[in-house]
């Protein structure tokens, strides 16, 4: 009868308790499943989140993901519903909309673009009461752009603030 092979021990290799390993394995599997479930809920990126703010003069709505990941394409949609005349509807975008993001397109193209204290000002001209302006911007995320940044959006009439939405954009690695 063959003896127990060298370097094997019945206690360690036959009658071993698996409790610790089982707990560790199921914990890791549970974490991986939890991450997948959280992703299904749209927490880790790309699902558009809408924010809106309304004042007497206009309503501003922004639809865009608040979480994105490196390399992803995403869209920002900015809707302005004018209730009073606006001489020069201007969207003011915080640097989070620009920093290390490729802007593939802006439709419609703004009549004027300018930097205003580090923010990007896009001017679209006059809006009459009841008129709607919808601006689409298409982005792609630079993979090295990890972190959370301000992605505020302001609606201005020229230099006069009408309404501002506070948002952040988080880029996950």
């Amino acid at each position: 009868m063959a003896e127990l092979p060298d370097h094997l021990d019945l206690g360690r290799h036959r009658d071993v308790s698996f409790r610790g390993e089982r707990v560790a394995r199921w914990t890791v599997l549970g974490l991986l499943a939890a991450v997948a479930i959280v992703a299904l809920l749209g927490v880790v990126g790309q699902t558009p989140r809408e924010s809106s703010a309304s004042v007497a003069a206009a309503e501003l709505e922004v639809s865009s993901p608040k979480h994105v990941r490196g390399g992803l394409f995403f869209q920002g949609r900015f809707t302005v519903d004018a209730r009073e005349p606006i001489e020069n509807a201007t969207l003011l975008l915080a640097p989070g909309w620009l920093e290390n993001l490729n802007i593939n397109t802006i439709e419609p193209a703004p009549a004027e673009e300018a930097s205003r204290d580090g923010d990007l000002a896009l001017s679209f001209g006059p809006l009459d009461p009841g008129e709607r302006l919808v601006v689409y911007m298409q982005f792609q995320v630079n993979p090295t752009n990890v972190g959370r940044r301000s992605a505020d959006v302001g609606l201005y009439d020229g230099d006069t603030e009408i309404v501002t939405i506070d948002r952040t954009l988080t880029v996950l690695p």
Partner: protein, 145 residues
Amino acid sequence: MDIVIRAFFAFLFVVVVTRVIGRRELSSLEPFDLILLIVLGDLIQQGVTQSDYSFTGLVLAGGTFTVLTVAVSFLVFRFRRMRPLFEPEPLILVDDGKVIDRNLRRERLTTEELAAEARLQQIASLSEVRWAVLESSGRISFIPR
């Protein structure tokens, strides 16, 4: 710098995933296991290099994986207590012709699969086996009576 950091965390992820998947799946390479490994490899590559198609990126990511692999190998060699973190211990599956069911269950192995492995080594019956050991590599050693 980012690619090295991503490679480091990808390596840790691979270590954890391979420990969770289990040694049998990694060594037996049944069709489904093979697909899993290929898909995992592709996903890991994308996550590490992302949009970097450069040779420099290859050197950075490949170099990081190589250094970490050697480092883990050295740690396991130098500090025996770390071994279970990276490599499973051998596990006895058959003792004197008797199949140890709880050890088989732990590795999600059936008696039929064990018998098939024995046949591959010209052993017709598990009753002829003195010891069967699932090695760290995932292969099964059979020592006849």
